[in-house]
């Protein structure tokens, strides 16, 4: 077993991993405990929503439109084979709202904002800013983590909705331009094909993914007690993105299985 360039006893490695998981669990419990703390002021929350959410909007529009267009191309072929190309709108909408929208929006937010969150918190840990807060009798969990967690939970479902709308627009555009379909037929099909459960599933997924991104990215940054410099900070950020990506995909399967 190799860790940090040195070989490590597998048992010790396992012990460290389990201890790390335990620390992450405790971190989550402590953050949830201070969730209503006054340090989570509206101003801080708004700043973080701008930081995490609004700066990802353009990315969501472009990525959503591309994914919707791709889905249109792929699904038109399949549906034509089964004699129901008129169901294109419903198929694109279901794929986006139930599955691809929440997952891809979460992965985009993770790549853009999640890594930034980890680097920011890990940098604060390395430069003793978190210790300074503690010494000022300011709970760093309430002051730093809660606004960021809430901003993720508020932003991601809205960004996912934006991704879905852009995806539907991209899908409709391809349907009109490439397959001589009608935009109104596509929209009617999409509207008729979607039920409340689809939207509930998409919303639940994006809320859970947001909490996962915040938990893993903030926790990895906060718990990096032995951070020495920029190299450690970038390593922790990369770790957080990898772990959160796997967690999102694994949880996506679980939620799909549970809610279908």
């Amino acid at each position: 077993m190799v860790c940090d360039g040195r070989s490590m006893n597998p048992l010790r490695y396992l012990h460290q991993r389990i201890a790390g998981l335990g620390a992450m669990g405790l971190f989550l419990i402590h953050v949830l405990r201070v969730l209503p703390a006054p340090a989570a002021r509206a101003g801080m929350l708004a700043k973080q929503i701008v930081h995490i959410g609004s700066r990802s909007m353009g990315l969501m529009l472009i990525a959503g439109a591309c994914v919707g267009a791709m889905l249109s191309v792929q699904l038109f072929d399949t549906l034509t084979r089964f004699g129901s190309p008129s169901m294109l709108g419903a198929a694109v909408a279901m794929s986006l709202i139930r599955e691809l929208g929440p997952v891809l929006a979460a992965l985009i937010v993770l790549g853009r904002a999640g890594s930034m969150l980890t680097a920011e918190i890990a940098g604060m840990r390395a430069s003793q800013q978190i210790d300074a807060l503690t010494c000022m009798a300011i709970d760093p969990l309430a002051y730093l983590m809660v606004p960021r967690l809430l901003a993720c939970v508020v932003s991601l479902p809205l960004l996912t909705a934006l991704f879905d709308v852009a995806g539907l627009a991209g899908g409709a555009l391809v349907s009109v331009l490439s397959f001589s379909g009608s935009a109104s037929l596509f929209i009617d099909s999409a509207a008729n094909g979607i039920v409340a459960d689809d939207i509930r599933m998409g919303l639940t997924k994006s809320l859970v993914f947001a909490a996962l991104i915040a938990w893993i990215c903030l926790g990895k940054g906060y718990l990096g007690t032995a951070l020495r410099g920029t190299e450690d900070v970038s390593r922790v950020s990369a770790d957080a993105v990898v772990i959160a990506s796997i967690a999102i995909l694994g949880t996506d399967y679980l939620l799909s299985a549970l809610m279908s």
């Binding site: 340090a39 003793q128 800013q129 300074a132 000022m136």
Partner: protein, 270 residues
């Protein structure tokens, strides 16, 4: 090492038999000392002697392996979280690198403890923060971000933030670290100015003997993880220990007279 009698009134810091380890290595062993109210107490030692770790322990950030730290007659590592939280409001900590919040300006950094720990209105908080900045000659940089400050300024802002709540005890990690002689002397003078103005105690960690001699009422010298000497500057100077003699020999050769004069001028009338 001279075993000095504890101060007549209850000490503000009472460290008993502190043993600390870092990465499995014992760095401090059976260290005991007390700090009296209003005293400037310097902890000295070579780089890596465990001075900063000891300061973190005093600040309640790193529990000792064995021993007790009593601040204001309370064992800080036996206190419930809520009481420790309340006790922290009576302590100010200035970190070596400043540890200023990079997203906030100088004035916002200094205001932060007041904003989150008091019910004062924003205008009063601004006035109080400005008073402290003026005391530390920082009024002109209040709108800057930490990244725009020099090392000396960042340390002074960190000190302003540490004293903004009018603490009874200030812990200061390496005031002279990374500064030229003039900036270090200026910071030393500010420590004395603050002590005189606020009647608070200072525990200062430093590796600069001239700085410790200039400001401290008593000095603790750590070597090889143990207390090598503890006493007033005059008592330390009189110690019959080759390591201390070497330290003083180096300092006497290096200490320019103008620095002493500069310190005297700045502290004149305190």
């Amino acid at each position: 090492m001279p075993d000095r009698a504890p101060p007549a009134i209850a000490p503000i810091v009472d460290a008993t038999s502190i043993t600390m380890s870092l990465g499995g290595r014992t760095i401090l062993e059976e260290l005991s000392f007390q700090v009296a109210r209003g005293e400037v107490f310097a902890i000295m030692g070579a780089s890596g002697a465990g001075k900063s770790t000891l300061l973190r322990t005093l600040a309640g950030l790193a529990p000792p392996v064995t021993g007790h730290i009593r601040l204001f007659e309370r064992d800080i590592y036996a206190l419930p979280a809520r009481e420790l939280f309340a006790l922290r409001k009576r302590i100010g900590v200035a970190f070596q690198g400043g540890a200023l919040l990079s997203a906030l300006t100088v004035i916002e950094n200094v205001e932060l403890p007041l904003r989150l720990n008091t019910q004062l209105d924003p205008a009063t908080i601004r006035i109080m923060a400005h008073l402290k900045l003026e005391l530390l000659n920082l009024r002109q940089v209040d709108h800057l971000y930490p990244s725009q400050l020099s090392g000396g300024m960042a340390k002074r802002v960190s000190l302003a933030r540490a004293v903004v709540m009018d603490p009874e005890l200030v812990l200061f990690d390496e005031p002279a670290g990374g500064l030229d002689r003039q900036n270090a002397a200026e910071l030393d003078a500010l420590i004395l100015k603050l002590r005189a103005a606020m009647k608070c105690s200072f525990v200062v960690v430093t590796h600069a003997l001239d700085s410790a001699l200039g400001i401290a009422d008593r000095i603790l010298i750590i070597a090889d993880g143990r207390a090598l000497a503890l006493g007033t500057p005059a008592e330390i100077r009189a110690q019959d220990d080759s390591r201390i003699a070497t330290m003083f020999g180096r300092m006497d050769a290096a200490l320019p007279a103008e620095r002493t004069a500069y310190l005297d001028r700045l502290t004149d009338g305190l």
